[in-house]
């Protein structure tokens, strides 16, 4: 019960400020038709209810799945198996990530379907998957995170030179939205599970850094998508 109450408070806290700012704007500068504004308020209510149900569902269903798969995988101690399923999990979670869907919908609309929602989501998912696999390898072989970060960002700057300029902002935004309410706890749970079983070392230090790398992946994959399109 405490859990439910906490989730409700969390959701209200994250939606309310923006809603208040919009309401103030509506009655000071904008004056949209009342119907539009009422529809927006109903939308806010649905977003709120949706987020509450979603976060509860993530806690009851998704997180335990992530943790159990993470520790079951680590117990096998087969490196290629861990890395392979790390890739699959990263990709599969991203496909279900709400923020990624919202961004792709907008890109699809603005580009008049030229950059389709499905393709963008798949590109982002593959990017996250590859980098989750890489970060698991990083944990297993203790590679310093700065190497991968520097290498990753270096590659981004090179790729950006070859990709159509419209893809650059989208790719960076894709990197930002992957770290949404589903991916973050799920990947954290997976990484911490793998780190603690595999090397029995302080999970906290190695579990961190996973999200940073996971958000590098989509930037690269969307840039590559741009190179293919261009």
């Amino acid at each position: 019960m405490d859990n439910i109450k906490e989730t409700i408070i969390e959701v209200v806290q994250s939606i309310l400020p923006i809603t208040i700012v919009i309401t103030i704007l509506q009655f000071s500068l904008i004056w949209l038709p009342t119907e539009t504004f009422i529809q927006f308020l109903i939308g806010v209510l649905m977003v709120g209810i949706g987020l509450i149900l979603f976060l509860l569902g993530v806690n009851i269903g998704m997180l335990p799945i992530g943790e159990m798969i993470g520790s079951a995988l680590s117990k096998t101690k087969i490196i290629w198996l861990i890395v392979f399923f790390g890739f699959l999990l990263g990709a599969v979670v991203t496909i279900a990530e709400p923020d990624v869907r919202v961004l792709s919908t907008q890109v699809d609309q603005v580009s008049n379907g030229e950059i389709s929602k499905t393709i963008l989501i798949l590109a982002v998912a593959i990017g996250v998957g590859i980098f989750v696999a890489l970060s698991l390898m990083r944990i297993i072989f203790s590679i310093p995170i700065t190497y991968i970060l520097a290498g990753g960002y270096g590659m981004i700057f090179v790729l950006a030179a070859f990709t159509p300029s419209t893809f650059v902002p989208i790719s960076f935004d894709a990197g930002g939205v992957t770290t949404g309410p589903l991916t973050v706890p799920f990947i954290m749970a997976l990484g911490v599970g793998v780190a603690s079983v595999l090397r029995g070392k302080s999970a906290s230090q190695d579990g961190f850094g996973l999200i940073a790398l996971a958000s590098l992946g989509p930037i690269l994959s969307v840039l590559i998508l741009g190179v293919i399109y261009g």
Partner: protein, 256 residues
């Protein structure tokens, strides 16, 4: 009255079902070969998945009928105003409050307080990150109005971050780069982004695809730079302690 609430809801639910399917299949494979959970636990997880499904459907539907259209319309009316400079403070206010209240930011703050053993108080980081995000959104407004390329902000931002990494401790580096996503929650990706696309579509000479997007990227930079800054301050303080100890004991175990 011309209100559409459940228009396309069936389609949204179908989309969500397809989105969750791969995860469910993967779980089913693990259940068969590795996990072999009891029926009771399976039931719990099934309830969780059902809640996720309903939640995601409602969330996306609400975004489609509420946040996206109003974001775009607000953007269009604001972009058409004569004194467009007002967009800059509005951007700051939106970014600041969206972050100040964001639960994910609270989690980050607790992490940092623990990592610095209380040297960096919660309030300091909360204000640093919120102001940082506010500035990012304000800068993005300037970017749209003036038509700068996104590189003018991204390149110096990340170069600065990589330089700061050299002076920050390892723990803070990890926390900093992980925290990039905390401020880019569902509200940023829905409302603020839609507003930017709206503004770009009515501002002359701007391409919504090229200039409307890119805001999330800047918002993701703000917490990284904030945490790194505080990390450097903290490691300085730690160094001072080290130097004090060193002069006292005259050893040179100095490797930070």
């Amino acid at each position: 009255m011309n209100i559409h609430i459940f228009q396309g809801f069936g389609q949204t639910m179908g989309e969500v079902a397809i989105a969750l399917l791969p995860l469910i299949i993967l779980f089913a494979i693990f259940q068969l070969f590795f996990l072999k959970l009891s029926l009771r636990k399976l039931l719990d997880i099934a309830i969780g998945i059902l809640l996720t499904f309903l939640g995601l459907s409602f969330f996306l539907q609400g975004v489609h009928i509420g946040f996206l259209p109003i974001g775009e319309q607000i953007g269009k009316s604001l972009g058409a105003i004569n004194y467009t400079w007002i967009l800059i403070p509005i951007g700051f206010v939106l970014g600041f409050f969206a972050t100040y209240a964001e639960p994910a930011v609270r989690v980050l703050i607790q992490q940092v307080e623990r990592a610095s053993s209380g040297y960096i108080p919660e309030k300091v980081l909360l204000y640093t990150v919120s102001i940082g995000v506010g500035l990012s959104v304000a800068l993005s407004m300037i970017r749209i109005l003036a038509g700068f390329s996104i590189w003018f902000f991204i390149l110096p931002g990340y170069i600065l971050a990589l330089i700061m990494v050299k002076y920050s401790s390892k723990t803070f580096t990890s926390i900093a780069f992980d925290s990039g996503g905390v401020a880019t929650g569902p509200m940023t990706a829905t409302f603020i982004l839609a507003m930017f696309v709206g503004i770009a579509s009515v501002t002359e000479g701007r391409d919504p695809l090229l200039d409307g997007f890119g805001m999330v990227a800047l918002v993701a930079l703000a917490p990284i730079l904030s945490v790194l800054t505080l990390g450097i301050l903290y490691s300085r303080k730690e160094k001072e302690l080290y130097v004090h100890k060193e002069t006292e004991t005259e050893t040179d175990s100095y490797d930070r």
